[in-house]
């Protein structure tokens, strides 16, 4: 165990943290799926309102997507602009 340097340990843990951060993609996936499902059923019941339903659905999906993107941004920061290395 003595061969592990401090930088190496921080890099390895950052990689694990980045992997954990991307798990946040589960939530937006479920949310977008639910929104798309209800959108499809709304278009099925009222095909005339297709344009409005689709634009409302896309807007809701985009808002739901934000939380997943926060996880992605944190993963990107950990991988490419690691702030923890400078703390040594």
């Amino acid at each position: 165990m003595n061969q592990i340097t401090n930088e190496g340990f921080i890099l390895a843990m950052s990689a694990i943290g980045a992997g954990l951060a991307v798990i946040s993609g589960i939530g937006p996936g479920i949310g977008q799926g639910i929104a798309a499902g209800y959108g499809a059923s709304a278009v099925g019941r009222n095909p005339g309102a297709r344009g409005e339903v689709v634009s409302t659905m896309l807007l809701g999906q985009a808002v739901a997507e934000t939380t997943g993107l926060y996880g992605l941004v944190i993963a990107l920061i950990l991988l490419f602009a690691n702030p923890l290395i400078g703390k040594l």
């Binding site: 896309l58 807007l59 985009a62 992605l72 990107l76």
Partner: protein, 231 residues
Amino acid sequence: MGNEVDFMIKGYYKLTLFGNEVYVTTTHVCTLIVVLLLLVVGSIVNRKMKKAKDIPDTVQNVAEMYVEMLDNIVAENMGKTWLKYANYILTIFLFILICNISGVLGLRPPTADYGLTLTLALITFVVIQFNAFKHMGVLGYAKSLTQPIPILFPINIISEFATPLSLSLRLFGNIMSGTVMMGLYYGLLPKLITIGIPVFLHVYLDLFAGAIQTYVFCMLSMVFIQDKISE
């Protein structure tokens, strides 16, 4: 193995400005190309529209289609005074759209740099706050921040400042994830697979996601502005 994974921003030229080192990066070059493209298209369309005919030719047709389509979207969302904001929305729509789909043209999309998306979101933030002060007055705006109960005042302030943050992070995250995916695909897979097959990935990650995110950015800008001017 293929070549190196390559999707980061690179500095091309070093400048010294007020004692700080400033780099001319990929983002600057790509933004410049996009702006020049838009200027050329704009001047061509301008020249064509000066002698507009009753029976439109190709350029006039496309320009009228674009303006009519976006005018309809803005008019649907912004109520009576929509014409004032149509200029702004149409401009950022075209700029973000060309930026997002410039990955197809071989550029690194400028919107995959947080500096650019934050700037765009801050412009929207200024428009939102200006309209809030203009339509509600200083006292009315302060009162609207204490709705529904006064204890929520700090949380309302935070949510005002969270608007540009979430707007910019949404655009940046989506386009950056597409850029990372394309960089990994080109960098890590054998050269043979990178012929022909990435077309489908480009269609999904650059064209489809780029167009959707452009629409969403403009739509959310309109919703936030409308939220302030309707009260």
